[in-house]
């Protein structure tokens, strides 16, 4: 408990040119010692098989000089920036502009999301990418319930995505059920598996919980691969029916939507429909989560993240609270999975690897645990940004990794780290991320 802890105070850092020079000299000396043998002397096998060597003092001097100069530059930059967690004094108009942007960012993003198919109607690539981003926004919002609100670290979230996808795929291909019947079923089945996962991990915390959820994700994937008679094994399920607009298919048949409306058929219609479908599903997830946060169950989730022992002392049933968190998160994962299956038309176990879980978790952590807007921004950055870096070719992962590390240094608690209270008497003020716990699992 850090009941009396205050923000760590930073001792005044020494500054001045003498300090900078001393630091640069020490760095240069270290570089000299290191590089004198590695760079300064070059050895090679000579023509007679003996070892010959020659010196490269010019290169050595250049490197040591670079280290010396670089050290001075870095130190100057650091002094200019100040300690990492100081609040930099921002001029009032900039502050006002930022708070204005903060208030209008979410509505602006929402309006933009609604207009994407209108603006980019002819750019199939951007439409596909937006659908992908929205799928991850929805997955992120779903996992946010488990990780961000309840503080239960779940590394196997992709399992529920897989359950949802296979539920729809198998029900639709085997029994001919429509997407709209299967969607709730996929959610219910995923929630059921969420509860099933919840039971054995109820007593686990932190690292142990993470390992078991990781294993659970793998178990689901391995079962899908090996249960050939049901799931088709590694070959996956193909020919999954496309979604219909309440029974009206979106194809170029005589019953299709285009024919009924009397307009020319275009394959883009289906893409736009899919876009609005996932947008609606994601917004539903968001709405439900925001509502739940203000209900006793949501407050209990957050209280659980803050202090489980205190929850028990207040008469909160920790077991059902954890299970409902797992079930709710899993249900949204299942919905997203059903959408994924209907969009792709083909699913195989390869789509449900650990990498997906890690990606969704990274979105939640990067966005700021518990923050809906943060998760949406993080999904946009992670999925959209990843596409943006395509120009870097083989350095794409490297650039992406560096960007993530820098982001986490800059904002260690995610893009939006503060927490908004669920109820207030007079002032609706955000709570600093220093006070909000991450949960112990």
């Amino acid at each position: 408990m850090s009941a009396t802890s205050a923000r760590p105070s930073h001792a005044a850092q020494p500054s001045g040119s003498a300090f900078i020079l001393k630091k640069a000299l020490i760095s240069a000396a270290v570089a000299l010692v290191l590089f004198s043998l590695m760079i300064g002397i070059r050895t090679e096998a000579g023509p007679q098989g003996g070892l010959i060597y020659w010196t490269r003092f010019g290169d050595l001097a250049a490197l040591v000089g670079t280290v010396f100069g670089g050290s001075i530059i870095i130190e100057l930059l650091r002094q200019w920036w100040g300690p990492i967690d100081t609040d930099h004094i921002v001029p009032k108009p900039v502050q006002a502009a930022m708070s204005f942007a903060g208030r209008w960012l979410a509505p602006a993003l929402l309006v933009f999301a609604f207009l994407v198919p209108v603006i980019f109607y002819n750019q199939r690539y951007i439409l596909d990418l937006s659908i992908l981003v929205l799928t991850y926004v929805m997955l992120g919002w779903g996992l946010n319930v488990v990780v961000g609100l309840a503080g239960l670290l779940d590394l196997g979230y992709v399992a529920f995505y897989a359950v949802g996808a296979y539920s729809y795929a198998l029900l639709a291909t085997n029994f001919g059920l429509s997407f709209w019947v299967c969607l709730p079923l996929a959610g219910i089945l995923a929630a059921f598996w969420g509860v099933l996962l919840g039971f054995p991990v109820l007593r686990l915390r932190g690292d142990y919980l993470a390992i078991v959820t990781l294993a659970f994700g793998e178990i689901i994937r391995l079962v899908i691969i090996n249960w050939q008679s049901l799931t088709g094994g590694p070959n996956g399920v193909s020919g999954i029916p496309r979604p219909t607009l309440f029974g009206i298919p979106l194809d170029n048949s005589d019953d299709g939507l285009a024919a009924k409306l009397g307009i020319d058929f275009s394959p883009t219609h289906r893409i736009v429909f899919l876009f609005y479908l996932i947008l609606a599903m994601a917004l539903l997830t968001n709405w439900v989560t925001i509502r739940l946060r203000r209900l006793p169950i949501g407050r209990a989730w957050e209280a659980l993240r803050e202090d489980e022992v205190a929850c028990r002392a207040l008469g909160i049933n920790v077991t059902t609270t954890k299970l409902t968190a797992f079930a709710t998160g899993a249900m949204f994962g299942g919905f997203a999975g059903a959408f994924f299956a209907t969009r792709q038309g083909f699913i195989s176990p390869e789509s449900f690897t650990f990498q997906e879980s890690a990606l969704v978790l990274a979105i939640v952590v990067l966005g700021g645990m518990g923050s809906q807007l943060g998760v949406a921004l993080a999904a946009l950055t992670m999925i959209g940004g990843f596409e943006l870096f395509r120009g870097f070719d083989q350095y794409r992962m490297l650039v992406f990794g560096i960007a993530m590390v820098l982001l986490m240094i800059w904002r260690p608690r995610g893009l939006i780290g503060h927490r908004a209270p669920t109820v207030y008497l007079e002032r609706n003020q955000a709570i600093s991320s220093d006070l909000v716990k991450e949960g112990h699992g």
Binding site: L295, R299, E306, C311, A313
Partner: protein, 277 residues
């Protein structure tokens, strides 16, 4: 002990492996009275608390709680959260356990979880935002407001609990326990770390809880000014057994108690007392 006990602890045993932390302890806490449980460090007071509030399952003995309506409950069989939910026993902790990242008001709302869960129709009615749920939520906010006012934290209602001063956190924890509407309030060292003025305020708060709410209070305390001023009955423990009980005055003059606190023999303590008076 005569009267109308709300809590009866009967031959309570608690063993951790070979260590007997509480050995055949029996005592009773009377209804609408303040009972203090005192003793030197390591006497087993917090262990008794953890048995009463369900954090430990006793190795033996019985803990009975008698409600006003005559129902009795065996606390040692309930365990965990049901003790607060069904038996209406609330507790605070020696090292404050608030929800630091939630506001003071939210802390008190979490305490009303069970009542609100029923009102929200296990979340479903609340999700739809039915009027009955909104009324229940307003009532819960009003109850929280009342308690914030009583502990003098109304102006800090929207501040994060982790940002409050230490003494304020102590009082908020008591308010949070009271928001579960308990019949028995168990306080583990409520005055620890408070200055003289704050512990004076605590005394008044506890007395008002006893007199106005009619809540029985069981408290562990080291601060003798609190124990002597407000307790109606004092139970003294040492090495897991009861060594004395009675009124604050009687306990203070008991040579066994003085011996336990001074770590001396009983004869020596009597000698010290006689030479002192």
């Amino acid at each position: 002990m005569s009267g109308d006990p709300i809590l009866t602890v009967d031959r309570l045993m608690m063993r951790f492996g070979g260590i007997v932390a509480v050995n055949a302890l029996s005592f009773a806490a009377e209804r609408r009275k303040i009972t203090a449980l005192i003793g030197p460090n390591g006497a087993g007071k917090t262990t008794v608390f953890n048995c009463i509030t369900g954090f430990y399952r006793p190795s033996g003995g019985a803990i009975r709680l008698a409600h006003d309506d005559g129902r009795t409950m065996q606390l040692e069989r309930l365990g965990d959260f049901r003790i607060t939910k069904q038996a209406k026993v609330a507790r605070t902790f020696q090292n404050i356990r608030l929800f630091p990242g939630m506001t003071a008001l939210e802390n008190l709302m979490v305490a009303q979880h069970n009542a609100l869960m029923r009102a929200s129709g296990l979340t479903l009615l609340g999700l739809l935002g039915l009027p009955s749920w909104r009324e229940a939520e307003q009532r819960a906010i009003e109850l929280a407001r009342t308690w914030l006012d009583r502990v003098g934290l109304l102006s800090r209602a929207d501040d994060a609990a982790g940002n409050l001063a230490y003494g304020d956190q102590r009082r908020l924890e008591i308010a949070r326990a009271m928001c579960t509407e308990p019949v028995l309030l168990c306080l583990d060292e409520p005055a620890a770390g408070l200055n003289a003025r704050e512990s004076g305020g605590l005394n008044e708060l506890l007395l008002s809880i006893r007199n106005e709410q009619g809540t029985s209070i069981l408290l562990i305390e080291h601060d003798m000014s609190v124990v002597m001023e407000i307790s109606d009955h004092v139970v003294v423990m040492d090495y897991g057994v009861k060594i004395a009980e009675g009124s604050p005055q009687a306990v203070r003059d008991d040579p066994k108690v003085i011996a336990a606190y001074l770590g001396a023999d009983e004869e020596e303590a009597i000698a010290v007392m006689e030479s002192g008076t």
